[in-house]
């Protein structure tokens, strides 16, 4: 892989109709809006098996999801293939997507998980809670910097928050493709 020029796929997933569960698509909308060269963005309701084929065409994949109880405001981890799926359903986990991509398509993509802390998941509503919006702001600034620099491995150890506001344009511009 060529450092700094990696083909990057960012997949934000979640249900924007269930409050903070929409953090993944909200971040994807923000990143898409920034138009960073070499970065493809996808939004989806949930991960399914065909994402294994999608990610096999990229050097780096970043999965972005809301997290119910993780580190605030977000975390960024290197993602290992998952070989057990006791909890799978119609959706699959990011680790399973990576494992399927590796097993079925020989994918060499390096994968990372960006988990953004959310707080309100049980209500209906196409909006983020105030705290989740704050965390989204931090995550967008963080990941946009990382993909621009290509320093994924270093960043995976940092969990950095360098907040710059973009929430106002993101949450009103969620687009699932």
């Amino acid at each position: 892989m060529k450092s700094g020029r990696a083909r990057v796929l960012l997949i934000g997933y979640g249900n924007p109709g269930r409050m903070d569960d929409g953090l993944g698509p909200a971040l994807a909308a923000c990143i898409e809006g920034l138009g960073i060269p070499g970065v493809a963005v996808e939004s989806d309701y949930q991960l399914t098996v065909e994402h294994a084929h999608d990610i096999s065409n990229y050097d780096v994949t970043i999965f972005v999801d809301a997290d119910t109880s993780g580190r605030e405001p977000f975390y960024f981890n290197r993602l290992a293939p998952s070989v057990t799926s006791g909890l799978g359903s119609h959706e699959v986990s990011p680790g399973e997507v990576v494992s399927l991509a590796l097993t079925l398509f020989g994918a060499k993509t390096r994968s990372y998980m960006l988990g953004i802390r959310g707080y309100e998941f049980n209500g209906f509503g196409e909006r983020l809670s105030n705290l989740a919006s704050r965390n989204l702001q931090a995550a967008v600034d963080f990941i946009s910097t990382v993909v621009s620099k290509g320093n994924f491995e270093e960043a995976a150890k940092e969990f950095t928050d360098k907040g710059k506001a973009c929430v106002e344009i993101c949450v009103d511009n969620i687009s699932l493709n």
Partner: protein
């Protein structure tokens, strides 16, 4: 936990590889015999209240948020209901065929996903196999060609959806009175390229399901099985029709309960019972009452209710399927997988035929007529009959919404399946993870979508708890 001092309760929560959150509780007596088994739905959906006050034209997009796997079913059912509200009693050929293409793409991808990645681990490795192997990764490692087919068939169905609905997820293609785009020749040609491959793989999947069922018929026949009524939409000539038709219900012997019923009057014939232990209602046919009027929907029901299938390969497969019960309805729960693969093939035949229909490039997309205050739309979603019912006020706001989703229609049937398997497999046995998976296999035959809701990380693992008759925890098992 039971308060009866001679009973023990086993709780499984949540059920794995089904959508949303479910819980199974099994009540044992002091001799370890299963007294009662129930499938509980623990998440309250509340969607019907959520949409009240919203503009009616938002429904085809908004209701898709119910589900990440079959959003197109909600998209189209809502659009059909709104057709009634805008007075569009007959769509243009382009609009109807575009919607049908979208729907068959949806059924195709959903059935492929279920068979290859949810059901096949059970069939290929055995119901009680080690769960660390009996999963989609296990299939990918041992049967990579099969797993690739599953991925690519799902992807193809998603492409059909993208080109008809505008997006793979939460598209906007269907609007009240029609559609907002046709299929360009460029889009058509992209989809046509893979038709033969998809047909071949569909035939292959059907063969696996058929051969497995026939080979294991002796043990599968009683597994989670019971006599039941069956219901689906049906075309006027009795053909299977997944997009539109009238309602037909038959009993376990194949006698018609009602036939060619205009679904706009469904509420005169179908009622829903509420039970205190589940958020999911229990629909039933009014004239038979809740005790005898419950029914099954979905692939098995559709194969039982229809007189024929109007595509040649699927019709040939239907005749082979029906031969198992010599003209009677098939009440074998596990035959659902075979039925589902017949529908997979039927959907692909329909996609192929529609792609060669020039009406898809037509320009006449929307019709309107006299506005009404009420709209009802039904279709056959991958998991069964889906009802959308709306009433709107003079300001075009939703006043009332009632959705009966496929899984709700199968609520009683899934509970019966759980009860049957629990009694047959668990009574008097030491409860093991392998035995418990038998319960999940029976539920998965219905491919339930339990809530289609929040999926963020941090879920509970599968938990099984066993209490003695005094309320003491005897055992606890977790899957992770």
């Amino acid at each position: 936990m039971s308060t009866d001092n001679k009973l023990k309760r086993v709780i499984i929560e949540p059920v794995t590889r089904v959508e949303g959150h479910g819980k199974v509780s099994i009540l044992l007596d002091e001799k370890n015999q299963v007294k009662q088994a129930r499938l509980h739905i623990v998440e309250f959906r509340g969607f019907e209240r959520f949409v009240q006050g919203r503009p009616y034209w938002e429904m085809p997009v908004l209701t898709q948020r119910l589900c990440g796997i079959c959003p197109v079913s909600h998209h189209l059912a809502a659009a059909k209901a709104l057709d009634m509200i805008v007075g569009a009693d007959k769509l243009t050929p382009t609009a109807e065929k575009m919607r049908r293409l979208m729907h068959y793409g949806q059924v195709f991808q959903s059935h492929a996903l279920h068979f290859f990645h949810l059901c096949s681990p059970d069939l290929l490795f055995g119901f009680e196999a080690d769960p660390s192997i009996r999963n989609v990764i296990g299939v990918a490692k041992k049967y990579p060609a099969l797993a690739v087919q599953g991925v690519m068939m799902r992807k193809y169905g998603q492409e059909v959806i993208k080109m008809t609905a505008g997006k793979k997820i939460h598209g906007t293609g269907a609007v009240p009175g029609g559609i907002n785009k046709n299929l360009s020749t460029a889009e058509r040609d992209i989809l046509l390229k893979d038709v033969k491959q998809m047909m071949d793989w569909s035939q292959g999947a059907l063969k696996i399901a058929k051969d497995y069922t026939v080979e294991h018929l002796t043990e599968l026949a009683p597994f989670g099985s019971f006599d039941s009524n069956h219901m689906s939409l049906i075309r006027k000539d009795g053909a299977m029709d997944l997009y539109h038709g009238n309602l037909r219900a038959i009993d376990a012997q194949g006698e018609k309960i009602f036939d060619q019923l205009n679904y706009a009057k469904y509420y005169d014939y179908i009622a829903e019972e509420v039970r205190s232990w589940s958020y999911m209602k229990f629909p039933f046919i009014k004239q038979l009452g809740p005790e005898n009027g419950w029914y099954r929907v979905g692939p098995l029901a559709r194969l039982n209710t229809c007189d024929f299938i109007d595509t040649p390969e699927a019709e040939k497969a239907r005749k082979e399927f029906k031969a198992v019960a010599v003209g009677k309805p098939i009440n074998i729960t596990m035959a659902s997988h075979w039925a589902r693969m017949i529908e997979l093939l039927h959907s692909m035949e329909k996609i192929r035929d529609l792609l060669n229909d020039k009406d898809l490039q037509g320009k006449d997309l929307v019709v309107k007529g006299r506005r009404r205050e009420e709209g009802i739309g039904l279709l056959e979603a991958p998991r069964g009959t889906l009802f959308h019912h709306y009433r709107v006020n003079k300001n075009d706001q939703i006043e009332m919404a009632n959705l009966i989703v496929s899984t709700t229609n199968n609520n009683e049937a899934m509970n019966r399946a759980v009860q049957k398997v629990a009694q047959d497999k668990l009574s008097g046995q030491k409860i093991t993870e392998g035995l418990l998976n038998n319960i999940e296999v029976a539920i998965r035959a219905y491919d339930p979508c339990l809530s289609c809701a929040t999926h963020a990380m941090g879920r509970m693992p599968l938990t099984v708890e066993i209490f003695d008759h005094e309320g003491n925890l005897l055992d606890r098992k977790e899957k992770s």
